[in-house]
Subunit: 423 residues, 2 copies
């Protein structure tokens, strides 16, 4: 299968340059990018009419199947939210729900130009199966839990899913510093050593979390994990709102990515991560939406806008952070954090995970600066096409996932109503 | 002309109730809203398939024709931004540009479900002509300026435009406390007295503005205007980020609306208006996008999300502000501020300024709470139809404004390149 995208503007994200050119996808990889129109036979020719081709967004922290909780517990305090709204409803979850709940999230990712997510939730095999079925790329956390997911299950998840043909792969992580038992830490450390996997975890999301860790362990959550050598193969932390200078040194030492979730941290009143400081200290920052209960949109344009907007407020300085830095966070930095080294830029040999941005939407006009347009006035309605692994899954507002979306919605509505009956 | 919208969910905004029903538009007004399917002959029948009908958004503070400055001066300091980027480029403006620059803004308003704006910019007659031509509703500020717009011109703007058939009407305002001359204040006071017009002005946007007013006048900007009786017929202030308790008392005394612009105040690092306090004190708050140079999107969904999100951060409290309060700000409160008492709710006799929200977009699913969906995960791509004054101007991503939008973009691009050559 050979697809020619002709007459495009192209932003490869290998640098900030945008040029007029053409791009060829052969099967699931990019086989040509350049200014000369290539000759030859193609199975499909798409005239981009001057619209922009760029790498898809990488949503580096989410809990996809939480769609059933969207708009269910807004405007409530964090304690209320977690203990009275979220946890009792999550207790109703069973593996039979995950596929449908995930499908709605994937549809939204596609409509927002997201071509891969780093996911963390219950029933990861069901999540992976759904991604493979829809053709959506994901990396998810295999989290050791003696009750739900013993060591053999972790190793099976990795062995069965981390194959060249699979779109849904696994890495090792834990929920946080404050939820696992000692035994969960010990076993996870062994798993990280055995598999040489990078490590992923929620970290320093709230001041309370950090304070309680100091009380318990006389050190910060990052210092705690570092003392256990859990980040020796790198990885990423989610949130990172309250990081000390020493935490930042550890982050740099192990080449850890900080995944910032500005909308979620705003909506739950957790605070504003000091992304400006992280960038100034040379830390790689990526972006995530967090789950649909705490954001509530799964929209990387929203995260990009807030990533720079909230820094301007925090530092009382409209200069931080420049738009291209934000665009890197939402694309190549996320890909690095997720280990998707072949799905980062639009270069020959890379996986064909790309999007077309409609420059003829009014918020993209006039064209003074396309990169600034993307970050400051880009929105879902500018996403004209989303391709993952060489397949077009979304185009002109329509989904090509092999299933009627109204059927998906009907099933999810029934499931949602059932799950939201708090027992 | 009689149009039936059948099988809708309807949110009239007279209250927060949403019911399954039908709505009829006869010419430019709503002639039926109810649960019974009306019989009779219709020129057009639109099956809403369960989608939501609600009043269009009212963007209560903007500078539409600033589209030429979109993405031109982001990530720069406020002083740099105004004096080196905005003012020199605005000096190149001439009345021949306003129509085209405004058209791009109107297209974006339509795509975001905005059915009326309160506009303030150069060459207001050209702006009004464009709104009338496109069928878009607006209220704009006639600002006295001896060089550009003498008293006779203000009176002519009001006399010629404020007619029952006109979609674009005028009220009286000034730019701010810190730009007009004494003579401009004196003449505007006389104009307000003669016309009994409400008064509109930028007020307390930055701490610097308030500090300098105290230095100059030993009082706050609001106290200054109150001492001159300029708000005796009500009106609205734009921004209101730095308001004292006494300012708030004056606002209540004169039934003034505070138009908050959360995105603009964030992007220019001006601060976060204390909307929570204003609401607790019983002040009416509306929302505006501000102009495309300082936001940069003209998107009321963005403003709604930030209106509540930034309050949660400011008060370290995820409870403020509930979604329905935000929705009122974006609709009926804006209509009140603009004097559009006939274009606020979906009730019989009101003007047919309405939108249809596509509940089948993934961010609107599942349906736990439609009002929360609108505020927390609503986005431009959920706007399925925008009707103003009984005419459908936008539907399913396409514009019906009597002109090819690619032609508009071409003209605006040429104009933008010309205007952005700083002399």
């Amino acid at each position: 299968m050979k697809i020619l995208f002709k007459n495009a503007r192209i932003l490869t994200m290998a640098d900030s340059n945008i040029f007029d050119g053409h791009l060829v996808v052969t099967d699931n990889r990019i086989s040509y990018v350049g200014k000369q129109l290539p000759s030859g036979m193609f199975d499909q020719v798409i005239d981009c009419e001057g619209n922009l081709l760029m790498p898809g967004f990488k949503n580096a922290h989410t809990h996809s199947a939480m769609t059933f909780l969207r708009s269910k517990a807004d405007d409530s305090s964090l304690q209320d939210w977690l203990f009275n709204e979220i946890f009792p409803r999550e207790a109703n979850l069973h593996e039979g729900c995950i596929k449908e709940l995930t499908k709605v999230a994937i549809l939204e990712y596609l409509s927002s130009g997201v071509t891969a997510v780093l996911d963390q939730y219950f029933y990861p095999q069901e999540f992976a199966d759904t991604c493979n079925e829809f053709g959506f790329r994901s990396v998810s956390l295999a989290m050791y839990d003696p009750k739900a997911r013993p060591v053999e299950e972790i190793l099976r998840l990795i062995r069965d899913n981390n194959k060249p043909s699979s779109l849904a792969t696994f890495v090792i992580g834990l929920h946080s510093e404050y939820t696992p038992t000692d035994e969960m830490f010990e076993t996870t450390i062994k798993l990280l050593e055995t598999t040489k996997s990078p490590y992923y975890v929620h970290l320093s999301e709230t001041q309370k979390e950090v304070d309680e860790c100091y009380e318990r362990r006389k050190m910060s959550p990052m210092e705690f994990f570092d003392s256990l050598h859990m980040f020796d193969n790198g990885g990423a932390i989610f949130h990172g709102v309250y990081l000390s200078d020493n935490d930042i040194e550890i982050i740099k030492k192990h080449d850890i990515t900080v995944v910032s979730n500005p909308s979620s941290n705003m909506k739950l009143a957790s605070g504003i991560a000091d992304v400006t400081k992280l960038l100034n200290k040379g830390v790689r920052v990526a972006l995530g939406t967090d789950g649909p209960a705490s954001n509530n949109a799964l929209d990387m344009f929203r995260e990009m806008y807030l990533a720079t907007g909230l820094q301007k407020l925090k530092h009382n300085n409209p200069v931080s952070i420049p738009a291209y830095e934000v665009l890197k966070m939402a694309t190549i930095n996320g890909a690095y954090a997720m280990g998707l080294k072949d799905a980062d830029t639009l270069e020959v040999g890379k996986l064909a995970d790309l999007i077309m941005i409609d420059l003829y939407r009014p918020s993209m006009q006039p064209i003074n600066n396309i990169i600034n347009n993307l970050v400051y006035s880009g929105e879902k309605d500018c996403v004209k096409l989303t391709m993952i692994n060489g397949k077009i899954l979304y185009r002109d507002g329509k989904f090509y996932v092999g299933e009627d979306i109204k059927d998906i919605y009907k099933k999810v509505q029934l499931l949602t109503e059932e799950l939201n009956k708090i027992k």
